[in-house]
């Protein structure tokens, strides 16, 4: 038997169904891999071996009894630590929640459990998902498996690194401004931000409620579609959840793998190429466009002039919503409580002492920014103006999708940078998200597909965007590109990654 940790989730699912391997064996193999390499990678904040093996044993027993199981039953998954898990510690990368064990499961976790996916543990992230490098975690850096001196992207660096390092075949991420797609790009993995409302936000520790969206982190496009279909769909616990059923995502991925894109119009966003993009990133992007053209796609150029205001609008809307959402961390009902060093111990002083001690620098920064933007006299000028830019960006998308079925760009302007390189320059850090943020502001879905190595031998990602509720297009075009690239490479990109351990 080959090393099961190297199989894609779809391959592992087939091996489980054929009885070639048990879920207990597959889960244990991943736990062993975590034990072997996670000391170096630090993708996990918590490993839930007992919980995962219990699920695996249950799935094996039900399979042996002839029960009809979900296609992914028995395939293990890792979950970003911003998603609450009953009986399993959940910190969102923050000291203020250290040791907290949630009393309920997020809807997407319930769905993972119902489908029989063993949960390997919780992955590292920037504190409350605020960052693009995972350096803002209160519990240490996650390393990029391609080069342990470099960042794995963020905020979901742990989920991307876990999948890239073969510690898990599947993981869950969340994406507020690019936190699934940018880590995917810099670790050579696949990441999907579904349409806003496509996956329930119930049980996600919110950063910016009008932008946050959970989605799959995987090594193949088909695996992402399989996982997306498990976690997606309507949830009455989330009033922003889309009531209609998901499009046929797995079917679209299988269709795309046939490498026929005849009649598909691919729009290159003029404002998201060229200047500011590393030459190797741009070169791989141009080559991928030629591959799409070779499969029959028609390449057109579209212009989205308002995208240049997206970053500024995002940095008004996101902190405003975050400052409001994070008010719940007050030391009264859950998590850390710190009493003031001197003076009377009143509730208000305990709240301020707790938040001063429990939040890290970037979280304090964004709460202060958001509180300022929302404070009396500023609300209309700040939050209100940013919401107008949101309208303009939606109009740009609407006009572009009239000319093209999908829009494309590089996912991130550069490959993974070294630790500390951008930590003291928040603006440089934010520029990582320049290509991913417009999708969050407009609610449209996006995927990042690994499309090669830059001149520095580090992975690069290709972003595909589709209209709201047309997530299937991401999977069709993404799977086609992946198949064409792997034919050139003679295998997956991750086969070129250095061995760990």
């Amino acid at each position: 038997m080959t090393d099961v940790t190297r199989l894609s989730a779809a391959e592992l699912a087939d091996a489980l169904a054929a009885g070639e391997v048990s879920s207990v064996e597959a889960t244990q193999a991943h736990l062993d891999r975590i034990a072997a390499v996670d000391g170096d990678v630090h993708a996990f904040l918590h490993v839930s071996a007992d919980d995962a093996l219990a699920t695996a044993r249950d799935v094996d027993a039900r399979r042996a009894a002839g029960e009809q199981l979900h296609a992914l039953a028995g395939v293990p998954v890792a979950v970003k630590d911003v998603v609450v898990t009953k009986g399993m510690p959940t910190t969102a990368g923050s000291k203020i929640l250290e040791g907290w064990v949630p009393p309920y499961d997020a809807t997407l976790v319930e769905r993972l459990r119902a489908a029989g996916l063993p949960i390997l543990g919780k992955t590292n992230m920037d504190e409350f998902a605020m960052g693009s490098s995972t350096e803002h975690s209160a519990f240490g850096n996650t390393k990029n498996p391609w080069d342990l001196d470099r960042i794995p992207g963020g905020s979901g660096g742990g989920s991307a690194a876990a999948v890239a390092a073969f510690e898990a075949p599947l993981a869950i991420g969340t994406d507020t401004g690019g936190s699934i797609r940018q880590p995917g790009a810099v670790t050579g993995t696949v990441g999907v931000k579904p349409t806003y409302g496509g996956v329930s936000r119930y049980g996600l520790i919110a950063m910016a409620s009008s932008l946050d969206q959970a989605g799959p982190v995987t090594r193949t496009v088909l695996d992402a579609a399989l996982l997306h279909e498990v976690i997606g769909g309507h949830d009455p616990h989330d009033s922003t959840s889309i009531p209609e059923p998901l499009p046929a995502l797995v079917e679209a991925a299988r269709q795309g793998a046939g490498q026929d894109l005849s009649g598909v119009r691919v729009g290159v966003v003029r404002e998201l190429t060229g200047e500011g993009y590393q030459p190797g990133v741009q070169a791989r992007f141009d080559e991928s466009l030629e591959l799409l053209r070779g499969m029959g796609a028609e390449i057109v150029e579209v212009s989205c002039p308002s995208f240049e205001y997206a970053l500024a609008a995002y940095y008004l809307i996101m902190p405003s919503e975050a400052s409001s959402n994070l008010a719940k961390f007050d030391g009264m009902r859950f998590g850390l409580r710190v009493e003031p060093a001197e003076g009377p111990v009143t509730a208000e002083r305990v709240m301020a002492a707790t938040r001063g001690a429990g939040f890290g620098d970037e979280v304090k920064r964004r709460i202060i920014l958001g509180t300022y933007a929302l404070s009396a006299g500023y609300y209309d000028a700040y939050y209100g103006s940013a919401q107008k830019v949101r309208t303009l960006i939606q109009r740009d998308f609407a006009a572009s999708f009239a000319q093209a079925d999908v829009l494309v760009s590089p996912t991130a302007p550069t490959t993974a940078f070294r630790f500390g390189e951008k930590l003291d320059d928040p603006l440089a850090m934010y520029l990582n998200d320049v290509a991913t943020i417009p999708a969050n502001l407009a609610g449209v879905p996006g995927i990042s597909v690994p499309n090669g190595l830059s001149d520095d031998k580090l992975p690069v990602g290709f972003q595909i965007l589709a209209p709201a509720k047309a997530d299937d297009r991401l999977y069709r075009v993404g799977a086609a590109l992946e198949a064409a690239l792997e034919k050139q490479w003679g295998g997956p990109l991750l086969a070129q990654a250095p061995e760990l351990g």
């Binding site: 009902r333 111990v345 009143t346 300022y372």
Partner: protein
């Protein structure tokens, strides 16, 4: 030159209920200028004729039947509380503050 003063940062931190050390106030006073730049940028195009969008997809309010459903078990909830007593959150003094 920062346009947001130390005093302003301290005032906003008090609104946000976050104790900041003096060095944190100094650093944030410099960094908050980013928001002034952001607003200047956004104002270039956020003209009165453009409607605001609060939400990515058009939404209407969601209603459900007013049927009671069980909440979380009290003991499970209190297990995560910093302090509790008799199934209730135990909090510091909230009355009599100035």
């Amino acid at each position: 030159m920062s346009t947001i003063s130390r005093d302003e940062v301290a005032r906003v931190a008090a609104l946000a209920r976050i104790d900041l050390r003096p060095d944190e106030v100094d650093r944030l006073a410099g960094e908050l200028d980013v928001i002034v730049d952001a607003i200047a940028r956004v104002s270039e195009v956020a003209t009165p004729d453009v409607p605001a969008t609060s939400h990515p997809l058009p939404m209407t309010n969601v209603f459900r039947e007013d049927v009671p459903v069980p909440g979380l078990p009290v003991d499970d909830v209190m297990a995560g509380a910093p302090a509790s007593e008799d199934g209730r959150f135990l909090v510091p003094q909230i009355l009599g503050e100035e």
